[in-house]
Symmetry: C2
Subunit: 284 residues, 2 copies
Amino acid sequence: MTALVSTIAEVQQAVGRARDRNLKVGLVPTMGALHAGHVSLIRAARAETGFVVVSIFVNPTQFGPGEDFSRYPRTLEVDLDICRREGVDLVFAPAAETVYPADFHTYVEVHELQDVLCGPSRPGHFRGVATVVCKLFNIVQPAVAYFGQKDFQQARIIQQLVGDLNLPLEVRICPTIREADGLALSSRNRYLNGEQRSHATVLYRSLQEVKAAVEKGERDPVALQRHLAERITATPGAILDYAEVRSAETLRTQPRLQGDVLVAVAVKFGGTRLIDNVLLQVGD
Amino acid sequence: MTALVSTIAEVQQAVGRARDRNLKVGLVPTMGALHAGHVSLIRAARAETGFVVVSIFVNPTQFGPGEDFSRYPRTLEVDLDICRREGVDLVFAPAAETVYPADFHTYVEVHELQDVLCGPSRPGHFRGVATVVCKLFNIVQPAVAYFGQKDFQQARIIQQLVGDLNLPLEVRICPTIREADGLALSSRNRYLNGEQRSHATVLYRSLQEVKAAVEKGERDPVALQRHLAERITATPGAILDYAEVRSAETLRTQPRLQGDVLVAVAVKFGGTRLIDNVLLQVGD
């Protein structure tokens, strides 16, 4: 039985009862428009915890001016069907005023990590993410929370804030789920027209090329970034936002690849901004 | 038996055991140099909760450049004696590196409330306070936390962040404790020389005069602020930082006093900055 609630008191009550039954609580925070990527997070939560909460909230504070807040897909009925089928215990779908009352003033900022990669293109985005996730963690008090690797910078920022603010929970980063041709699943893929959709595979293909080059011994991030940029800008309709190779831990640049490395790209097709990444373990 | 611990794991263990015994946990966050004001908070916690935690941590992030971080009084042995005498269950006195590891990046900001009164004179101060208190709340997970009204803006900011971030605890603001001549107790009073100490009573006296004027019907904040400023600037050695009459809820100015009103002053004597306030309930 999947319960649907919209108030904080109802969540706390339901989760309190689960905790009284000694069930471990898992949280999958989402903005709805659920796809197989979200389903993989729900399944990871189901496997590891005894009470799975999915939050569905299109968070206004993580959209910048001119971004797609108003047209972001809202598909609550379909989302609920998916949650029921996947055995989710509780869906929390609050109104904006429940999360952000009129006199709301508090924001969580994760400096440095929020200032790179997607940060410059989306001012305030990660502040909005960090703040709403911190709120959801305090409302649900999960033992484990699940995020997708597709939004790696977001997941890394959340890991950092959980450690820095001493939140008593674990953050799991689950593998990116892809279409057959490699395109990473995203609620924004539905904005793409047929031609954009076919060209959008350049993100995955160019990332795989970089992976192969590193496996063959390439250690120069600048050469790899140049390759990504060339492949993307040569693609019809693709406008490069960034193509970067950085430390997956600090998100800082490296003079020479070493350790856990993030290769990340952001590309616009018309008004639709897509991101993707691969993680590489690089030896000497 | 008062236990002294310095690591987060030890706190969580001790508090976990208390919670297993169904004891309500109370937290009194302090920077040490304990005086009768802190003791009143400890006694309030003792009266309301079954397991009292006092944290002692001179928080570097709430001191600005040129402030008194390095000379702030550190009196751990005396503080521990006080805690033992008052029946505190656990003292948490962490090292700076325990609270702020090298890769720390996350800050909590309470906008608007942090930008007025003491905010402009102490850039970054309330960000540091909000961040460390948020961390302490997550580490100790108290049911109730206790703060003094002397630092009213601080207490109000903490109330706001607890609500905004949905932290599951109550914030109690306890009355200011004063010397016989009205001077509010503060760890910084020990910096004052004899002459400064005797002139420092102007804070309390001028606040009481404003209170009397309001009781007699004065409703104009500007007139009251002028009176405070005149009394303070006429005092030898006193340098006025601010004298303000504002809404105690929003900390905004009011055209005419109404509802819960905060009358707050900040005054420097040499290098020592003192603050004090009164809260008034103003009818029509």
